[in-house]
């Protein structure tokens, strides 16, 4: 149909909202509470437009176009209303932009600037200070900075189905709360961090560990190892001012060296290791009549979700630790042994696209290396150490680069260190939804059939469809597999298992939309466009790797020959596998 925006005729499809119509016509209507596909609360009043014939201004995010509609996005009335609405939001918003985590990436700040707001006309109406929620190991909430747009509530309930937070109170006392205001750390929160990604202000951020990492780097007695997750190399460039989805593996390695890390290793190595263990676990379960479908366990937000909401189905989870944790355990045992370094002096730092990894690293059972050495080194309990000491998000790494004044895009490309730095194309794709499944199938096929897999591309499990399924032919034996991303989609597959109607043998789940590339620790903005570009880079990396099957990684072959001896063996059991538990609140 034809409508008219700012005196220009525009063709749009029926059912389009005025906001999307304007944007597709290249006319920017600012918005705050609206987030495409996620939230349309129509609470902020920033996207108001004037429509000929309508008595009042209309919120373009929830108004559908009608034939011949005459819209003005920048009439004096619309512009004034928009400005006043933002000014009202600013009344109760703190004025600490200079020291805010979101300084420079805050939508409210940007909007205030764009709309030409020069002073604060409206006085603060809220009494007292709202307390920060620092109960979570992954996220920090500062309700003072909250403008009640409701995006976090929408993403938590509608995209993730977790429903950890909601509005509480009324009027001036409205705020976003957990149950009884007990804090995110005390309720069924998956720590996925999608709320932090969609928050337009600094009201939800990751728990920052940058200063602890700087201290470790400055400690001459410590050997600080760093590992980088598959999705970081396609995200960190964006945070350093490069185009969306820039693949910057080499620069990232060079940058990390310049920050002072003793060795720059790769979580992708551990991803290959995961595939060996998980692939063998799957075949073992199939052969011995074990619990099926087996579900992947790389995504810590997903693990917490099952523990919180589906404890009866925990036995379906692979017992494999996530690559982050496998790396930590291997670094403080195998690598320590190989290099003769005291594991107590090793600090393992992970760079993850994820906020849930922070929680995972501090799970009490994630101390396999400590128990490995306890007898041998006669360690006392107070010398306890975790396998992974600090887990930083992609955003925190960007902060370290900027604090250190590193000119990221000008860095040369460098290679990961050995022996925990080599990886395959199979590991690269861990970062995208369907990637773990594809990587596992490449290895499982060869393990199961004993034949060489010539076409390694399982394209049916790629892409952004919420739930993907495929029939995989293992030389005559057809197995049904499924891939889900976002916890809501994962919940659908869990309900099938609960009802006994699940037709699958193997399921991959990633908590975040698009997989880790859309993780809660990734640069802001993370949206459909950035996710797509990051995924494209991930598959490009896979495509250009010489070795694309995890079991052909030479460093993996060496670690089994020298250390683990065999998959699912005694050492693997202690260092690479874990257990889960029901959580009560």
């Amino acid at each position: 149909m034809e409508i008219n925006i700012n005196n220009r005729p525009v063709q749009v499809a029926e059912g389009t909202t005025v906001l999307e119509a304007c944007r597709s016509a290249g006319i920017d209507v600012p918005s705050l509470c609206y987030l495409k596909d996620v939230s349309h609360n129509a609470s902020c009043g920033v996207c108001v437009v004037e429509v000929k014939g309508a008595k009042s201004l209309l919120r373009s995010c929830i108004t559908q176009v009608t034939e011949g509609m005459e819209i003005s996005t920048n009439s004096p009335r619309a512009m004034l209303a928009r400005k006043v609405n933002v000014e009202l939001l600013l009344a109760n918003h703190p004025q600490d932009c200079l020291i805010c985590d979101r300084n420079g990436s805050c939508e409210l700040q940007e909007l205030s600037h764009a709309l030409g707001i020069k002073d604060r006309r409206f006085v603060r109406t809220r009494k007292g200070q709202l307390k920060k929620d620092e109960t979570s190991l992954s996220l920090v909430r500062d309700p003072e900075k909250c403008i009640l747009c409701g995006r976090c509530v929408a993403v938590c309930s509608q995209m993730q189905g977790v429903k950890a937070i909601d509005f509480s109170g009324r009027g001036l006392k409205s705020k976003i709360s957990t149950f009884l205001d007990s804090g995110l750390g005390h309720v069924a929160c998956s720590n996925c961090g999608q709320c932090a990604l969609v928050c337009p202000t600094g009201a939800i951020t990751e728990r920052n560990s940058v200063s602890e990492v700087w201290s470790a780097l400055q400690d001459p007695g410590k050997i600080v190892l760093v590992q980088t997750a598959p999705a970081v190399r396609v995200g960190i460039g964006e945070a350093m001012g490069m185009p969306y989805g820039s693949l910057v593996t080499g620069q990232m390695v060079a940058g990390l060296r310049r920050l002072g890390f003793s060795k720059v290793f790769d979580t992708n190595f551990a991803a290959d290791l995961t595939i060996i263990e998980e692939g063998n676990e799957l075949l073992h379960r199939i052969k011995t009549g074990g619990e099926l479908p087996m579900i992947t366990s790389c995504s810590p937000g997903w693990i917490k979700f099952v523990e919180d909401f589906y404890p009866d189905l925990l036995r379906h989870l692979s017992t494999c630790k996530s690559p982050q944790q496998m790396f930590g355990a291997v670094a403080k045992t195998y690598y320590a042994e190989k290099t003769g370094v005291d594991p107590r002096n090793i600090v393992v730092v992970s760079i993850m696209p994820c906020t849930a990894k922070k929680y995972e690293a501090k799970r009490p059972e994630m101390d396999g290396a400590f128990h490995y050495w306890k007898e041998k080194l006669k360690l006392k309990d107070e010398e306890h150490f975790f396998d992974v000491d600090f887990s930083l998000t992609t955003r925190e790494l960007a902060r370290m680069f900027s604090e250190a004044g590193i000119n990221f895009s000008g860095l040369p490309e460098e290679r990961f260190d050995s022996p925990l730095g080599e990886s395959t194309g199979a590991a690269a794709i861990f970062g995208a939804t369907g990637g773990v499944m594809e990587a596992a199938l490449r290895t499982a096929y060869e393990l199961y059939t004993g034949k060489t897999l010539y076409d390694v591309n399982f394209t049916s499990v790629r892409g952004f469809q919420g739930i993907k399924e495929a029939d995989v032919n293992l030389n005559g034996t057809v197995i049904k597999v499924a891939v889900a991303h976002t916890l809501k989609n994962a919940g659908i597959l869990l309900e099938q298992i609960k009802n006994g109607t699940s037709p699958y043998v193997f399921i991959e789940v990633m908590a975040c939309p698009g997989g880790c590339i859309g993780g809660g620790g990734q640069p802001i903005p993370t949206n459909a466009e950035t996710r797509e570009k990051r995924a494209a880079s991930i598959y490009y990396e896979d495509d250009h790797k010489v070795i694309r099957k995890s079991h052909e990684n030479p460093e993996i072959i060496t670690i089994y020959a020298d250390f683990f001896k065999k998959p699912l063996g005694e050492k693997s059991h202690h260092l690479l596998h874990t257990h889960y538990r029901e959580r009560e609140y």
């Binding site: 309930s157 009324r170 009027g171 709360s177 957990t178 205001d181 309720v187």
Partner: protein, 170 residues
Amino acid sequence: METQTNAPVSGEILDKIIEKHRGKPGMLLTTLEEAQEKNPLKYLPGETLAEISKKLKVPYAQVYSVATFYSFFNLKPQGKHSIVVCRGTACHTKGSKALLDDIEKILGIKYTGDDAESSYTTPDNLFTIRTVSCFGQCAQSPVVAIDNVIYSNMNSRKLLKILSNYTLSL
């Protein structure tokens, strides 16, 4: 006969309440309402909210959202008697702030939260004082409700007399 204890509403008593409302529109509201009514201290403790959440399969955060939205629901124990002072415009111009101050003096407490949403309970749990924005009885302002009985054209002398009856009979 239901036995009077200070135990929060839970278990079978709560099951009965829920069964009565299950499937009906607004079942969360009506369940919360009755659970509060059956509580000897007329409030909804956290454990009751949690149990209602589990039994109705309504997320915790949503139950809390509803319970905090309506001023009818109390999340703190309520005093034996309730005093509600109207702080609407009409009552305000007829001196309702002074009545609030009188109540403070009579009961020997300091009521700090004079905005339409807060309440205060005396340490001995005898009185809960609350303000509301309007009773809709503006023609007879100022208005004070004590134990759900509305007293109109209130003044300090009347207030003292009524409250004395309560404090003396204790």
